[in-house]
């Protein structure tokens, strides 16, 4: 039992207190104190002077984030008028050419957004352009993270979240451009119907479940609408929040430069510099997307007309980010298996589900494979220059090349008609190119990386070119070199050398041993302090000998 509290004759709350008059009250203090008293605002805000490093390549992820915000804002506007219904109506809006044509309510309401709602077409076009930009910015941001090694420990989980964002970003985009129910989007949906049907074992069931029966049915547009405006945006929002939270927790990586180490971070404070820079950048991305919506037509559905399952437009193509799947579907040989009375449609399943699965699996596992090969368990906050990780860079470029070839194959008919070449030959060529071009890209990229390493080494040892040609007393010509700053020399020599895993006490598999040796092999060693010293003395001698010292420094 609680004891009755002792009552003091005068409760402190009842005392009449007068605020000190001499102090000028801060205008913000009142509301801020009010909020802080209730939710601990000051604790919540943490360090608003948090340091962020500056580099243009760190803006790419920001573009993706801002495009997403633009998509949410414009998307809300579009939902006010869009009717996700496949019920048929006779069009009665103001676009003369389709007057009285039968069409779904989805298409009819898309037309009314485009022609009858003021600003509707503008918002539709902004929405579509920023969707293209969203996926593009995510892709380029991912490439930046890949090529600079920013995915390494401790950021592997954030890399996985990024891969998740990119993959469901594609689903979101596809669901979105399927909604208007015009001829092009209907054709895309029919492709997806075939794609789902091709899944071994469960294909027909999945098709009937997704479309609620046969294609096209009446439910696919409302279902995709739910996926497009609720399910996937919710997932994206959650994953983006986690992505940002981890970014703040790990602190941003930075480029190596004098004074920047694995244990510090150099840059500008969040408040006020990044509030202004990042906030301003949001308005720049938004402004440019609005201008694109104003000046560049995109997806003119009224020209395609309502969906008609017996028609198709020549040159039908998906939005750019589905192009690689489209290309693979075009160039795959017509493989179909027949086993025990069943049909396995590899000609659709492999390029569709298979290729997307391969891409995202490869992206997801890469950080772990690289760490396994190098045996690297340390934390990395300094970025790699791509040339200093030649195999990673070459692998990334090979992946880009493969993606690019598949993407190009998605326009094999356009290539054939534009360049007056045989469609069949383009297709046969692309079948080979998707395998050969990545290999060539790998080799060429690796060579370029090693040459750049050599150039770095030369620059450290011999300094920079001065454009001054010196004639020596005995008639020889040579270019004088000027020494580079200590800061630059430091930046060019500080990267760690890759070491093959030593077959120490730990038992290493033969494969891992070999991979690790291959991964470290071929790199140009950074000059040692002695070599730099020797080269410095050497260049004190008459400049004519400078050219003779242009030894490449390759040791393998």
């Amino acid at each position: 039992m609680a004891k009755p509290a002792e009552l003091s004759p005068v409760s402190p709350a009842m005392e009449v207190r007068t605020p000190p008059k001499d102090q000028e009250p801060d205008k913000l203090a009142g509301p801020a104190t009010w909020v802080d008293d209730r939710i601990g605002l000051a604790k919540l805000m943490g360090n608003i002077r948090k340091v962020f490093p500056d580099h243009w390549s760190f803006l790419l992820g920001e573009i993706a984030l801002y495009s997403f915000v633009i998509l949410l804002l414009t998307g809300v506007f579009l939902t006010i008028w869009f009717k996700p219904s496949m019920a048929e109506v006779d069009y009665a809006g103001s676009y003369e050419l389709l007057r009285n044509v039968r069409m779904s309510e989805a298409f009819s309401s898309t037309l009314s957004i485009s022609f009858d709602i003021r600003g509707g077409l503008l918002v539709r076009q902004i929405h579509h352009w920023s969707a293209m930009l969203f996926v593009a910015a995510m892709t380029v941001h991912m490439l930046r993270v890949f090529f600079t090694g920013a995915f390494r420990k401790p950021r592997e989980l954030n890399w996985l979240i990024g891969v998740g964002l990119l993959s469901i970003g594609l689903v979101e985009g596809f669901a979105g451009y399927s909604l208007p129910d015009d001829l092009l989007s209907g054709t895309g949906l029919r492709f997806v119907d075939g794609l789902i049907r091709s899944i071994p074992l469960i294909g027909t069931w999945a098709e009937f479940f997704v479309f609620a029966g046969e294609f096209p049915g009446t439910l696919i547009v409302p279902r995709l609408y739910m996926v497009h405006i609720l399910l996937v945006p919710g997932l994206l929002l959650g994953l983006i929040s986690a992505h940002m939270a981890l970014l703040v927790y790990h602190k941003h990586t930075h480029w190596p430069a004098p004074g920047r180490t694995n244990h510090n971070i150099q840059g500008y404070p969040f408040f006020p510099i990044y509030v202004a820079k990042a906030g301003g950048f949001f308005f720049i991305v938004f402004g440019i997307t609005i201008l694109m919506g104003a000046l560049m037509q995109i997806n003119p559905v009224w020209l395609f007309g309502p969906y008609n399952p017996s028609q198709v437009t020549a040159g039908s193509q998906p939005d750019w980010y589905m192009g690689f799947v489209e290309g693979a579907t075009r160039i795959i040989p017509n493989w179909e298996w027949h086993v025990l009375g069943t049909t396995w449609s590899w000609n659709i399943f492999l390029p569709g589900v298979g290729l997307m699965g391969l891409l995202f699996t490869a992206l997801a596992v890469y950080p772990f494979i690289e760490a396994w090969i190098t045996g690297d368990k340390s934390e990395h906050h300094l970025l790699d220059r791509p040339r200093n990780a030649p195999n990673r860079t070459a692998f990334g470029v090979a992946g880009m090349a493969a993606y690019g070839m598949f993407w190009l194959a998605g326009g094999n008919d356009i290539i054939a008609t534009q360049f007056h070449v045989s469609l069949n030959n383009v297709t046969y060529f692309m079948r080979g190119a998707v395998f050969v071009v990545p290999v060539v890209a790998f080799i060429v990229t690796k060579r370029i990386c090693l040459s750049l390493q050599r150039a770095d080494r030369d620059r450290v040892l011999h300094g920079s070119e001065t454009n001054v040609i010196v004639r020596s007393p005995d008639g020889g010509y040579s270019e004088a070199h000027a020494p580079i700053s200590q800061g630059e020399a430091y930046s060019l020599t500080r990267h760690p050398q890759l070491d093959a895993l030593a077959p120490s006490g730990e038992k290493l598999g033969r494969t891992r041993q070999r991979l690790s040796r291959w991964y470290a092999d071929g790199q140009v060693p950074t000059p040692t302090a002695e070599e730099i010293e020797a080269a410095a003395h050497h260049s004190d001698a008459p400049a004519l000998e400078a050219s003779e010292t242009a030894d490449s420094g390759v040791s393998h």
């Binding site: 000046l295 198709v312 040159g315 340390s378």
Partner: protein
Amino acid sequence: MSEQKNLPVPDPGLEEHEHRYTDVNEAAADRAYKQIVGMLAAVPVLVLAFLFVYFGVPKDAELVLFGANLQMQTTLLGLTGGLATLMIGVAAIAWARSLMSDEEIVGERHGAASPPEARERVLADLETGIEASGIRRRKLLGTGMAGALGLIAVPALVSLADLGPWPTPALRAETIERTIWAEGVRLVNDVSYLPLKASDLEVGQLVNAVPETLEKIEDGPAFQEAKAKAAIIVVRMDPNSIKIPDSRKDWQINGILSYSKICTHVGCPISLWEQLTHHLLCPCHQSTFDLANSGVVVFGPAARSLPQLPITTDSEGYLVARSDFTVPVGPSYFERDSSKDFKEGDR
């Protein structure tokens, strides 16, 4: 690859801060200040212009810009709104770059891992909690709870079983395995629904057709579903220049043949006709079928021949179907072995 101790070139440390022009020259700073305020001042002007366009420019007014016809209202709304937005962004960044302090600061990084004491504390707390829960002594609690939680997913998953009708053999036979074609159904033009007369077709001509029964389907979705499978092409070729297998001698009339228009690859309507080669090309993925040879695949990712619709003429000379398709139209599916479909070399 931890931090290297013996670097060939020692780290000279952070570079010295260089002052910007606006830091050392008051006039330059004032100029930057004026520019930024100027940009912000443009925003209300552009917003007013936006309002004027929104309320003042008619929806159907057109604007010709660089030879392109644009909706004037859309373009002007975007130009005013877009520039206003852009101005805010440019002003904010210009402010940050030229007038805010540009002293870089250095922060410390700490490892991502929690300190060992924190890990130990959490482990100890977990231990205390597990002990307090009594799960160690009454083991069935844990198993029971895990099992129950796993099983509760079953009703959630099962309630999705009505997402669509189940494609049982009976339902497949009624849906993806049949079309509305049947014996005696006339072939009609797909736009005008006028019946096609055999004598009106020229050699080399290709016509898009549908069954006459399609027009009578009032319900929109049912109409689309029926059309998605029943669309055909009717083509007349010189009977002497094409291969007609014995089994299909009476599926055609004087070189007039009819095929499904739905590609056996992923179901696009095939429509590009090469008159001289008798090839039909799908614009989606370029599967090519030889109409002069029972619709076999000659190129591309499709694996199955184009299903042929057996046709004849009725007493008035109009083209009619002899039956439905003998094989399902459109893409293959798992439950049916399509290897028995017509192939090159079949009689």
